[in-house]
């Protein structure tokens, strides 16, 4: 198992941990944190391929990671603002109770 495969296994396990957290927890904030972890695992993949993959033009992998980090941060901000709005409406943030479309 060469280094690239080791990095990819690491990012796969991190992705799976994020997936398990997003599926198992019913607190909206923990679900969002699980999604953030999945995005981070994908970024790990990008950097691993940039470093150990076949040589391409210098910085494409790194730039993709920068964009992915920016988009993930924007999505975290919106998601947590939504969580605050849900809390204001139903006074807790259990996802099981956010089942009605009409407020």
């Amino acid at each position: 198992m060469n280094t690239l495969q080791l990095c990819l296994v690491f990012s796969s396990v991190l992705f799976a941990i994020g997936l398990m957290a997003a599926l198992a927890r019913s607190n909206a904030i923990l679900v969002l944190l699980g999604i953030e972890l999945m995005l981070n695992a994908a970024n790990l993949n990008f950097v691993a391929f940039w470093r150990f993959g076949p040589a391409s033009d210098g910085a494409t992998g790194v730039i993709f990671v920068l964009f992915a980090i920016a988009v993930a941060a924007a999505e975290a901000a919106i998601g947590l603002a939504l969580v605050i709005a849900i809390y204001r409406h139903q006074k807790n943030i259990r996802l099981q109770e956010a089942t009605r479309l009409k407020g």
């Binding site: 991190l14 599926l23 944190l33 730039i63 947590l80 603002a81 605050i84």
Partner: protein
């Protein structure tokens, strides 16, 4: 080389696993910040220093603040943000799905023969990244700018408190009852108070 990778991977996976099994939400958030620091360590090990510092700055300096503020603003008990763990069957199902995903991915990774490692490690100098961002990737940069602006405006509007709601309810009620009635009633209610005040 591989030993350092193993240490970084162990640290990151351990803190991620602990982050999602704690009952205290603040502890989960802080352990996740440690996980992000571990990912930044991986970027440093791979030689992408710019991304590593950007990861620490954005995730550890900004996203962590949002998460902590959200945790503190959405708790019922003043003292501790305790979350109840999910039911056993749900946790078991999630673990099953997670293990299946890991198995599929690891099998795919181990059965693919990747090409040989490049002889020289690639370097991403800041100057190179800058030229790429301003040249070939300028369109993506503008789109990211628009996305971040939309996120800023959207988050502010979503999280702003609804101070207008009571007034909105009152205004709609007034318009339903007809403008004349309530306004004269209001004036009649107001006048005696004024008279009393003027007298005293």
């Amino acid at each position: 080389m591989t030993l350092v990778l193993a240490i970084i991977a162990a640290f990151t996976l351990a803190s991620a696993a602990c982050a999602f099994s704690r009952r205290n939400l603040i502890h989960s958030a802080l352990l996740l910040i440690l996980t992000w620091a571990g990912v930044a360590g991986f970027y440093l090990w791979a030689g992408a220093e710019f991304v590593a510092f950007a990861q620490v700055l954005i995730y550890g300096g900004a996203v962590s603040m949002i998460v902590l503020f959200a945790v503190l603003l959405t708790r019922r008990s003043i003292v501790d943000p305790i979350v109840t763990p999910a039911s056993r069957s749900r946790v078991a199902a999630a673990m099953g799905v997670g293990t299946a995903v890991v198995a599929v991915l690891v099998a795919a990774v181990l059965n693919t023969s990747f090409g040989p490692e490049p002889v020289h490690a690639p370097t991403a100098e800041v100057r190179q990244i800058g030229f790429q961002l301003m040249g070939p990737q300028a369109g993506s940069l503008l789109v990211i700018g628009v996305i971040l602006t939309i996120a800023l405006i959207g988050a502010t509007i979503l999280a702003a408190s609804d101070r207008e709601n009571p007034r909105a309810v009152g205004a709609s009620a007034r318009s339903r009852m007809g403008k004349g009635e309530l306004s004269t009633a209001g004036r009649r209610a107001v006048l005696p108070v004024h008279g009393k005040d003027a007298a005293s």
